[in-house]
């Protein structure tokens, strides 16, 4: 109750509307008083004397429709007038603030307002200008960072490629010395790992830099394509993959979605239990009226629930995953991509039983619902 009262007291728009209404009422009443002060009502209540003029009217109808309308019109007129004069700058400010919230910083409030509103408008314009400058600086800085990542990755890979290539040549010329061959193989393996790390790092940094080109994606087709890319790994692990025939169509950047499914399915293949071939199931369903869900479940090594947050952090690798090849950037890249698509990822997992990764896309980005 007090909260509502406080709201009414502090609501500036409401106050000015009431003020306008009172102003209208006061002016109307003053008009009536002025009128009444110049009239004399006869004892029979029917004759009005305006100055020296006598007029016979029925004053019993003073509070009937037309006089009441005569009161109401000025009330509404002045209420509207005050609203226009006082509240319109507030409305304008609200509108421009909404623009800023929606990400448009090319806003400015017209400078014709005087007084406090003028000062507020000036401060608002300065704030928007400052935000825009900060945003531009951030954009420029991000671009520099992207270029830096690309240059570092490229320039580090070049000498690495040389190390690897000459190691291969040396290995061939090691004249059957097994120790030398093994040591050179170590150099090649380490160089390969470094190359993978640089590629993943570059991919991770590129996710937020690259312009998204969204289109309708048939996820059944995409997942099938990804599994064919992973054919060698599937063969090696003896995996059994079940893809539901009618996964939902989503609207997303196809290149980035391919990275998402590639990472999740490759993880499900790589993190399998010893001597137990992976069984992976990919399904899709309408989660609620607002969301659609795609799940990727496996029978792999799994992990403890308390590690759920860790797995999406860059370079974080869980204890039971140390023996599996990887850089610790895959799932953080997946999360970054899904964040950009306003989609969510969640996971439930049980050690030595398996994991279920759930991708939830907002319905606004969905084409056909799953059948």
């Amino acid at each position: 109750m007090l909260k509502h009262l406080y709201h009414y007291i502090t609501d500036i728009k409401l106050k000015y509307k009431i003020f306008g209404a009172f102003l209208g009422l006061t002016i109307t009443l003053l008009g009536y008083i002025e009128l009444i002060s110049k009239t004399i009502i006869a004892s029979d209540g029917t004759t009005l004397h305006f100055g020296k003029t006598a007029l016979t009217i029925d004053v019993s109808g003073l509070f009937s429709f037309w006089p009441l309308l005569g009161i109401c019109i000025p009330i509404f007129f002045f209420s509207w007038l005050v609203t226009q004069l006082v509240i319109s700058p507030i409305n304008e400010m609200q509108k421009e603030m909404a623009e800023v919230i929606s990400g448009n910083l090319n806003v400015s409030i017209s400078s014709h307002h005087k007084g406090e509103f003028g000062e507020m408008a000036e401060l608002f314009n300065l704030m928007a200008k400052s935000l825009k400058a900060t945003q531009e600086e951030l954009h420029r800085s991000n671009q520099e960072l992207e270029q830096f990542a690309a240059i570092v990755a490229h320039d580090l890979k070049e000498p690495l490629r040389k190390i690897m290539f000459y190691s291969i040549l040396f290995q061939e010329n090691a004249c059957g010395d097994p120790l030398s061959k093994s040591r050179i193989q170590n150099i090649i393996d380490v160089s390969n790992r470094m190359t993978t790390l640089l590629n993943d790092l570059l991919e991770f940094s590129r996710v937020s830099q690259k312009k998204q080109e969204c289109e309708q994606i048939n996820t059944t087709q995409m997942v099938t394509l990804v599994t064919s890319d992973l054919h060698a790994l599937i063969q090696r692990t003896g995996a059994d993959i079940h893809i539901a025939p009618h996964l939902p169509t989503i609207e997303a950047d196809p290149l980035q979605m391919r990275i998402v499914f590639q990472n999740l399915i490759a993880n499900a293949l790589k993190f399998h239990r010893p001597n137990i071939p992976p069984i992976i199931t990919i399904e899709g369903q309408l989660r609620d009226s607002q969301h659609v869900e795609i799940t990727i479940s496996d029978n792999g090594i799994g992990f403890n629930t308390e590690d759920t947050l860790k797995i999406f952090m860059p370079f974080k690798r869980l204890g039971n995953a140390k023996d599996v090849e990887g850089t610790g950037l895959g799932l953080s890249t997946v999360k970054r991509i899904l964040d950009r698509h306003h989609a969510k990822i969640s996971v439930t997992s049980t050690p030595n039983t398996g994991s279920v990764f759930s991708l939830i896309f907002p319905i606004s980005s969905i084409g056909d619902p799953p059948k």
């Binding site: 690309a150 990755a153 490229h154 890979k157 490629r161 290539f165």
Partner: protein, 129 residues
């Protein structure tokens, strides 16, 4: 710099043009094709040169990170000289716009230098057939 060595008549050899200012790349290409090198004529240039007009390669490998020009400028110049030849863009990392360029300049799929040793031989064999 042009290399040709072997008993197979020049006319039957597959002509490959490599444009890359990284000296290692010509070594890597030769190594990748070592089992078939006698059937290949490898032309190596470090830049887009006017003399390229005298070559009629079956396959062009072009680095998108030449010191002298950026990726798109390189592809434009290549297409001016070789409007209809098969061009494979190569680089240490795939440029952000590679898919767009592949369509725009009618390129063969991008080949990462990381995978050149494993894949080049198969690509050349496919080209030969």
């Amino acid at each position: 710099m042009t290399h040709s060595e072997n008993p197979v008549p020049q006319a039957h050899k597959l002509s490959i043009l490599l444009i890359d200012d990284d000296a290692l790349m010509s070594e890597m290409v030769r190594y990748a094709l070592k089992s078939d090198i006698t059937n290949v004529v490898l032309h190596v240039y470090t830049d887009i040169d006017i003399q390229l007009k005298n070559i009629n390669p079956s396959l062009i490998l072009v680095d998108l990170n030449l010191t002298s020009s950026d990726g798109e400028a390189t592809l434009q110049k290549i297409r001016e000289i070789f409007p209809h030849h098969a061009v494979i863009p190569i680089s240490g990392i795939a440029p952000l716009r590679i898919q767009e360029w592949e369509a725009l300049y009618r390129l063969e799929p991008f080949l990462s230098k990381d995978n050149l040793l494993q894949n080049l031989h198969a690509i050349v064999q496919k080209k030969r057939t």
